[in-house]
């Protein structure tokens, strides 16, 4: 009965509301946008290259949040995407960067789904304890196209040799372990013939360059020059990585949607607040109908994005057949709405919105980065259509 209620009703449970309050308190006590600016400008020496705080990561682990998705046997809480979504949304409101997407939703989930018992034991307890950060290295080109993988894994006597280059590896340059997608058969674009490998970034032949993104997060470019890996580093079945990654990308898309809900909600609320204090022509600009109507449209779009995201998170937790389509629907919608609100926010703030001193610009930048990550609106609308048979 409890499970049924949790998985279907599109309202947060009491427990989820309590969790929301804790995350909100945590985020506002630990972080503000001044810190983001400092990361970017290299002022906070220890954390600047990282663009997030490992101390916060450990604190979040103590609170159980890094282990929300993982079973208790690995030190996790055994909860669901709905709960992790609450955490991501609240971090999104504060623009607080943490490696939840890279470590938990991408690499960690892939190992939970496809890894051997030894591999799970090697990483999952470490994630739950806040000791490990992982990255999933899969992307090679600008637009998200998960099976467009050219990087080769060539079979040799006692394992494989990896050769190729990965880009946009979220939190890749400081990850403790890399999960790498490479082609063991077939041509770029084919779902089949892909295999996952778990390796230490210190392995000879791995060259990692940190790249800075406009939202003050890091993503690495990683070159693999004939990197030797053993058979025990293969995660899941050879040539069949797409089967592991399909649901992983769904979960990650829904989780990122939840973060986007936080980002776009905060941006919308800040814009509304500005409309209520900014005076021009002797009147509050929020009294102008040209702005009121656009604010009303943004409100509608936001509400629809919230509903879609809640539905996707619950469908994933219930293991429903329509979960992939809902995850795509949520990512498409939140991407589009975050972009809409981002550009409207800048326009409504006017000149001050163009300055680095005003914080609203950081929300628009994060919205754009999160939109592009794991597929934008166009990608997910196309996938939604395909999954719905047209």
């Amino acid at each position: 009965m409890t499970t049924a209620t949790r998985s279907s009703a599109l309202v947060p449970t009491e427990e989820q509301e309590l969790l929301r309050r804790s995350v909100r308190e945590f985020a506002s006590a630990r972080f503000d946008i001044a810190q983001l600016r400092a990361y970017r400008d290299g002022e906070a020496s220890v954390e600047a290259p990282l663009c997030y705080s490992r101390a916060h990561w450990r604190e979040m682990a103590e609170l159980g949040w890094t282990g929300i998705l993982f079973p208790e046997e690995y030190g996790g809480l055994g909860l669901g995407h709905a709960e992790l979504g609450v955490v991501l949304e609240e971090l999104g409101r504060r623009l607080l960067p943490q490696p939840l997407l890279s470590t938990v939703l991408l690499a960690g989930s892939a190992i939970l789904r496809g890894g051997s018992e030894a591999q799970k034991q090697a990483v999952l307890p470490g994630i739950c304890a806040g000791e490990l950060v992982l990255a999933l290295a899969f992307q090679e080109q600008g637009r998200f196209a998960p099976w467009q993988v050219a990087m080769r894994a060539t079979r040799v006597a006692d394992g494989y040799r990896l050769a190729g280059e990965k880009r946009f590896v979220l939190d890749g340059h400081d990850a403790d372990q890399l999960l790498v997608l490479a082609r063991t058969a077939g041509k770029p674009g084919a779902r089949d013939g892909l295999t996952l490998f778990l390796l230490d970034p210190q392995t000879p032949g791995v060259e990692c360059v940190r790249t800075s993104l406009l939202d003050v997060r890091n993503a690495a470019r990683i070159r693999f020059a004939d990197v030797k890996v053993s058979m025990s580093q293969v995660v899941g079945a050879v040539d069949r990585a797409a089967l592991i990654l399909d649901p992983v990308f769904d979960g990650a898309a829904a989780g990122l949607s939840a973060e986007l809900v936080g980002v776009l909600s905060e941006a919308f609320e800040r814009t509304l607040a500005y409309l209520k204090i900014r005076r021009q022509f002797g009147a509050l600009i929020g009294s102008f109908q040209a702005l009121k109507h656009r604010a009303a449209d943004m409100f509608c779009e936001r509400e629809l994005a919230v509903s879609m995201t809640l539905a996707a998170l619950r469908a994933l937790d219930a293991g429903r057949a329509d979960a992939p389509a809902l995850a795509s629907a949520a990512k498409a919608r939140t991407s589009d709405v975050a972009n809409l609100i981002g550009r409207e926010a800048i326009q409504m703030f006017g000149g001050i919105g163009m300055t680095d001193e005003e914080e609203i610009g950081f929300f628009m930048k994060r919205a754009r980065a999160a939109e592009t990550t794991l597929g934008d609106g166009a990608y997910h609308r196309d996938r939604f259509a395909t999954l719905n048979g047209f």
């Binding site: 599109l10 309202v11 009121k292 009303a296 409100f299 509903s307 879609m308 539905a311 629907a329 395909t386």
Partner: protein
């Protein structure tokens, strides 16, 4: 006996009753065949539907939560939910839209005198008395409060003179609930009162309105020295605007759900696209129009989920009825977008007006495209809905 057991028993009782009483001939009806035009529905089915509608009304199941003395079934919210689930499970067709049931009823229940409730509610609940709404006037559309239809006191009556527009079904209705100006000197919003008017009263005349989409249920209604007993005033003198606003929220809820009603009917949008554009495998062949279909389908899903969320929030005792403005705004805009896209898909096949040479489906889409324009106008234009959202929900300054 705990609440859950009681509810389970209640469910069993309803299921048993439906098993016994729901006409067998209606059972195989699914959503699609339910949408067949009236003319091709065999007479037996129509009779059965009429019989069933009557039976349902007698059970008080048109207004399940109203007290029994007013023709309802006296159910609490949980029971009403169980009833709705059971009716849906059997696939019972929804009752025809009734202004009395969905608009006036809730307001009467809240504000009517005991005499007014006893007199009017049972007729509404049994769907025996048909009501129409007298709000808009030629000079009072979006600016409804500028209405000029006057009601002048004369002994124990009001004398009503004026001209109402968009009075749906006024040619068939037995009664009208009507906004009239009772105090021309008072500030605009305070001089309005809410009258219940018997349509048989001498001095009332009704003319139908033809729309861009063809014949419609809309009428205009003329009042020439119409005498209305003072006991037919709902609420206090001058309270009409407050009551009207409350009732408008119910109307927006009803209109907002129209967008949802269109889904699942007859042919879906992707099916129409495949039929008109061809397909490659299962994909719609034209990639540009396919993207537009996907956007429309995705937005429909988002609207449906938001309606579900709104219901879930109400069930959890959260949220408010102001959400109706949002659903109405987005729903009617989306309905328009869908129909624009359907017209694009049809191309010249969508240009037919009537007669041979065009399929019934195409002719229907064309008329629906035209009629859908009105969805964004009636019940408060979408511009008015945006004003309401900006003021009531977002708290933006005047």
């Amino acid at each position: 006996m705990n609440n859950k057991t009681a509810l389970d028993n209640f469910r069993t009782d309803i299921a048993r009753w439906l098993e016994e009483c729901y006409p067998a001939v209606l059972r195989p009806l699914d959503v699609e065949s339910g949408m067949q035009p009236e003319a091709v529905v065999p007479e037996t089915i129509r009779n059965a539907e009429r019989r069933w509608h009557r039976l349902r009304a007698e059970q008080g199941w048109l207004a399940p939560t109203w007290p029994r003395e007013y023709g309802g079934a006296g159910l609490d919210r949980d029971q009403a939910r169980v009833l709705a689930q059971e009716l849906r499970r059997v696939g019972v067709r929804p009752p025809p839209i009734s202004a009395g049931l969905s608009l006036l009823g809730p307001v009467l229940l809240q504000r009517g005198t005991p005499e007014q409730k006893l007199r009017h509610l049972p007729g509404i609940a049994r769907d025996e008395v048909m009501w129409c709404q007298g709000y808009s006037e030629p000079g009072a559309g979006s600016d409804l409060a500028s209405l000029t239809t006057r009601a002048v006191p004369d002994g124990d009556h009001f004398v009503v003179d004026g001209h109402k527009l968009w009075t749906s079904h006024a040619d068939k209705a037995h009664w009208m609930f009507c906004l009239v100006r009772t105090d021309p000197e008072a500030p605009q919003h305070e001089g309005i009162s809410f009258l219940l008017i018997d349509m048989k009263s001498p001095g009332i005349s009704v003319a139908p309105i033809r729309l861009i989409s063809g014949p419609s249920a809309f009428c205009q209604t003329f009042f020439d020295q119409v005498r209305v007993p003072k006991e037919n005033l709902l609420g206090q003198l001058g309270e009409g605007w407050t009551i009207a606003k409350q009732l408008l929220q119910y109307e927006r809820q009803a209109l907002g759900s129209i967008g949802r009603g269109d889904l699942g009917r007859a042919q879906t949008l992707p099916e129409l696209a495949k039929q008109e554009l061809g397909s490659e495998g299962v994909r719609i062949a034209d990639p540009v129009l396919r993207a537009q279909v996907a956007q429309c389908e995705l937005d429909s899903l988002a609207l449906r989920l938001t309606m579900n969320r709104s219901a879930d929030e109400a069930g959890a005792g959260r949220g408010g009825d102001h959400i109706a403005s949002m659903l109405k705004l987005y729903g009617s805009a989306l309905t328009n977008r869908r129909h624009e896209l359907m017209m694009t898909l049809l191309g010249a096949d969508g240009l037919g007006w009537e007669g041979p040479g065009f399929s019934d489906a195409a002719l229907r889409i064309t008329r629906q495209w035209l009629r859908a324009k009105g969805n964004a106008i009636e019940g408060g234009t979408n511009e008015i809905q945006r004003n309401v959202i900006a003021k009531r929900i977002l708290g933006l300054p005047e």
